[in-house]
């Protein structure tokens, strides 16, 4: 059996930046996993994801959240990006842990669904997001208001057995 879970790209910010883009994503894997350890440079902000430079209102998401005192769920439809957190937003004081699974990203027959976990000092979230587009994903952009120096972004590819 072949090993998989292959590092594709890694970014560590040396200067604050509003967004990070993984471009020219290889089309040779089944799923992508993006691991984000991020902090906000100015004010707390939610983490968003867009594909292939699409800024249209072609995204929706549903969140299941816990704050330490209550559980809740919310959603958004027809938005310009997938929100990857809710209560566990990117903070200024602590680095957030986000793991984003982009399932079956290179196929051109299904709309794309993302499963994301967010953990921060203020909460924990499980989010599902939809991009209403059957195109293969060739680039992925993560953004907040401004990522702080030291934020890291790692992209991995997982390849099924055929």
């Amino acid at each position: 059996m072949a090993a998989t879970y292959t590092p594709i790209a890694s970014i560590t910010l040396g200067a604050a930046a509003a967004s990070v883009t993984f471009s020219s994503i290889p089309q040779t894997y089944t799923d992508l996993v993006c691991v984000v350890s991020a902090k906000a440079a100015s004010t707390a902000f939610d983490l968003y994801l867009q594909f292939n430079g699409d800024t249209g209102n072609n995204y929706s998401w549903t969140a299941l959240s816990g704050t330490g005192s209550a559980a809740s769920s919310t959603r958004n439809s027809n938005g310009p990006a997938i929100q990857l957190d809710n209560q566990g937003s990117v903070r200024t004081g602590d680095f957030t842990a986000n793991i984003v699974h982009i399932m079956n990203y290179s196929n051109s027959t299904t709309n794309k669904t993302v499963l994301a976990r967010a953990n921060s000092s203020t909460g924990v979230d499980l989010n599902v997001g939809l991009w209403r587009n059957t195109a293969a994903i060739t680039s992925a952009t993560l953004y907040i208001n401004s990522f702080a120096v030291g934020s890291t972004f790692n992209l991995y590819g997982i390849l099924g057995s055929n």
Binding site: A3, I11, L130
Partner: protein
């Protein structure tokens, strides 16, 4: 819309060496049941990664599993669910199947599939009952659900076969383009 950005496009070739392909099923037509049998016993944990849609004429359709063809009342499950409006939790006991969550049915928007990431821990251990963890969800741009599910199979047998169905109901078929990937994780 981001104003300033960092772009990366580096290609790396190093693999994390503890995550291995085992088997994949990609459907070219409707199929009632997905079986992974003769599962190799050389790993510590298993992970299933799934995108699925079902022919059931509803917005969403439940996916369940059995291990080693055990249809006895030897499964129990607990879940945390988010509907987009509220969160809830529930359980069932002494069931004849374990639960993974819900994917889209045929009443959902075309081309929308549900996704699952399922971890099956210590599957070869013959001294433990087996516990699974499923992260699951689908979104239909205005409806959708998230499920965080654990299931317990009260058997100490090593898992050699996994069967997945639409709640073990006749006529509930997984549809074309549904994909089921099984991986092994070494300790």
């Amino acid at each position: 819309m981001p104003i300033f950005g960092i772009t990366a496009s580096s290609n790396m070739t190093t693999k994390l060496t503890d995550f291995y392909q085992i088997a994949t099923t990609t459907l070219t037509g409707n199929q009632l049941q997905i079986d992974f049998d003769n599962i190799p016993q050389g790993y510590t944990h298993l992970q299933l990664r799934i995108i699925a849609r079902n022919t059931e004429a509803t917005t969403d359709s439940q996916t369940t599993f059995r291990f080693n063809d055990d249809s006895g009342a030897n499964y129990s499950s607990h879940y945390l669910r988010g509907t987009g409006a509220s969160a809830s939790s529930g359980a069932n006991t002494s069931n004849t199947k374990g639960y993974l969550g819900w994917n889209t049915g045929s009443s959902s928007t075309a081309s929308n599939f549900g996704v699952y990431i399922v971890d099956i821990l210590d599957y070869t251990n013959t001294n433990k009952y087996k516990t699974t963890r499923s992260l699951n969800g689908y979104d239909n741009n205005g409806s959708g659900n998230l499920w965080f599910v654990s299931s317990n199979w009260r058997s100490t047998s090593a898992i050699t076969k996994i069967s997945l169905t639409g709640d073990n109901q006749a006529g509930r078929n997984f549809v074309q383009y549904s994909r089921f990937d099984l991986y092994g994780i070494k300790g």
